[in-house]
Subunit: 418 residues, 2 copies
């Protein structure tokens, strides 16, 4: 079999396995998940050995330090992966939930019921822990999963995958419930993306290049976790102390993540009072500021912000600052430069708060809180498989529920259409 045939066969078997999963009980699934968690710990030597190979190769190839840091596994990281599987076992199974049910005048009883999506392909570049998280979440929600990780982590990914798959087989789940594309060939991704007959959803997790490539080539629905250019708007009616805390937290607490603030918008009437103290605090924390004309007039010695800055996801201690004329300019700026991820207003004005919530076209819109809360765990979902910046199917943090779809089950007693 050539690569295309192999992948088709894999996807076909994954679909068959997903049909078996339609009637898998939560009790059986959770038992397997707990044993998967235990297996990661008891086989950690295998994982560490495989990881060493990946790390050695990355070192030989002189990959950047940050890259190797993400790649490297240790006992603590494996324990975290294992804890995460145990946590997933504890979550409510979304499958079978009746979202809505009603009876029609003719007696038909219509139920809208949550069911697994089917076969999910996840294409990722990042850390090996994604492997066990994705397997755990997809399995719990009754889906088959096809994983395609970065080739730099292949040995680590395969080790984790094999350990978990073995547990599933022991518990009599069909082996094709979890699958890994183990070739480094780039064409494997393109071939996968044509298998819309068998695969129901593709989730690319990685840089802009990967995501664009997937969207272009895919015949399968894609849910994207795209970049986060998040804004905090300090309104003229803001409590400026609260604004300072929120902006500082949104930028500095963890600058390298998608829900960190990249642009701060400030109403012109409070700019002169707010900016000097705020920017001083940022400077002390090592944040580089790129400001608009008015910002530059209020605080000296700042670099000018360009249009490109407002379009930038820095993921670093850099911040664009812009003074706006009013709320409506703030909203327009966010809808134009933002990425529909997370945006916040700081205000004590009721009308302005509601106006912002209604008109900012983003997945998560905040009043008086840091954008850093956009996260499955912070939302109380108990887990996270990604944050969707798309509008279809799922938006914002995605966890178990977002890995399901619904179907209608309809109970009749002989109804025919007249």
């Amino acid at each position: 079999m050539n690569l295309k045939e192999q992948l088709t066969q894999m996807a076909k078997e994954a679909q068959e396995a997903s049909r078996v999963m339609l009637s898998a009980s939560s009790i059986k699934k959770d038992k397997a998940l707990r044993e998967m968690a235990a297996a990661l710990n008891s086989k950690k030597a295998d994982i560490l050995r495989a990881n060493k190979k990946d790390v050695q190769q990355a070192t030989r190839q002189k990959m950047p330090r940050a890259f190797i840091d993400r790649l490297i596994l240790n006992e603590k990281k494996i324990r975290e992966m294992s804890d995460s599987l145990r946590q997933i076992a504890k979550l409510n199974d979304p499958v079978g939930e009746v979202i809505k049910a009603w009876r029609r005048p003719n007696g038909l009883w219509i139920n809208k019921v949550r069911v697994p999506i089917g076969v999910i392909a996840i294409i990722y570049e990042s850390r090996p822990n994604v492997t066990s998280d994705c397997i755990g979440l997809c399995f719990k929600s009754g889906n088959s999963v096809i994983l395609r990780g970065g080739s730099d982590a292949l040995n680590s990914n395969l080790a984790i995958y094999r350990i978990l798959k073995k547990v599933l087989e022991k518990h009599q789940f069909p082996p094709a419930v979890v699958n890994m594309v183990s070739t480094a060939e780039r064409s494997a991704v393109e071939a996968l993306l044509k298998l819309d007959k068998y695969i129901d959803l593709v989730m690319p997790r990685g840089g802009e290049g990967l995501i664009k490539r997937v969207v272009r080539a895919s015949r399968i629905p894609v849910i994207k976790h795209y970049k986060g250019i998040c804004h905090v708007y300090v309104d003229e009616w803001a409590d400026l102390n609260m604004a300072q805390d929120i902006c500082f937290n949104a930028k500095v607490q963890r600058p390298g993540v998608c829900n960190a603030m990249e642009t701060m918008l400030v109403h012109r009437d409070v700019a002169a009072r707010f900016l000097p103290g705020m920017l001083k605090k940022f400077k002390e924390a090592g944040v580089q500021i790129r400001g608009c004309d008015i910002t530059l007039r209020i605080v000296k010695g700042i670099k000018q912000a360009t249009d490109k800055d407002y379009h930038s996801e820095y993921l670093a201690l850099i911040l664009s600052v812009k003074v706006v004329q009013d709320l409506s300019q703030a909203i327009r700026h966010i809808n134009y430069y933002g990425t529909r991820h997370s945006d916040s207003i700081v205000t004590d004005n009721y009308e302005n708060a509601l106006e912002f919530l209604k008109n900012v076209d983003s997945a998560c819109v905040y009043v008086n809180a840091s954008t850093r809360f956009t996260d499955g765990n912070q939302f109380g979902m108990g887990a996270e498989i990604g944050i969707s910046t798309d509008k279809l199917h799922a938006r914002g943090p995605m966890a178990l529920e977002e890995l399901t779809t619904y179907k209608y089950t309809i109970f009749g007693n002989g109804q025919i259409r007249i």
Copy 2:
């Protein structure tokens, strides 16, 4: 401007208009809808005149009779279009519904709120009434719409579109809320499908060729209304009189639609009792039967069914019949040959009913009822913009609610992440 630039401009303006729609009140929208309904009636002469041109051209081109029947408009059809808009005005506005809300331990109050999707492109081949239905449903749900109808109905579509747009302008809605691509150039579709920066969703409505072309070329999420190969399975525990009524209704009541039965599956233990009477009834109604080996042995003079038959959406008085060994073979047959549309079991056995509901992987799964009920109006949605055979975002009948997405609005009082 060339075609690509024109379409980009149109999509961009549609997106801007969709942002204005985010704060349009239901009262204002419904008022405009009622006036749109009235305008269709009062300007019916314009529509009939435009339609006459299309019909004359189609006649000159010797298009088939059925095609011209679908194209032709008369006073009754215009009144139905108008009634449908009035009906849409009466429906609940889905926008603003709080799907779920909860408070986090830190006091953050998270609301999952229904909001418009944004910009929806609809590419259709069929009747001119689709134009007013789509405008009505997209407008009511707060979306901008870009319509691309078949070139054979262009004059009719444009006449309807212009009348409705004029009402929207009069009511101070941004004109770009409704848009029509009026060129017959085929490349317009391909160009539209690349505008993922501005268009949020594409819905192709038409034949298999159109749908495949759209899925291949689109960078925008697509929801498909694909073909319906629907099954009724007569279980060994079926009430055979009920089974006869349901199968007859599912095949004969309106054979040309996607929720009509195309294949009847019968348990081997009841085949000899059920098939002779059932097939006689079908024969009297002019239904041609294509049967499996066992069917051919039970009832003489029937054409043999091929594998291709089981894959066929006849949309006509033709039916494939297959005798199966048991429930599980019936389910496997449906999941393999079906199109995830609508399938029904007739049975009085509790276990078998639940087994069927759980394991048939279709949008609508019935017990003891005709598949013909898969329809927005029959479901009580008050309208229908299509039936999704996809699994992502929307499945089964789609109406107003399915034309929305959600966002999270989060109310804080100074929360920062620790």
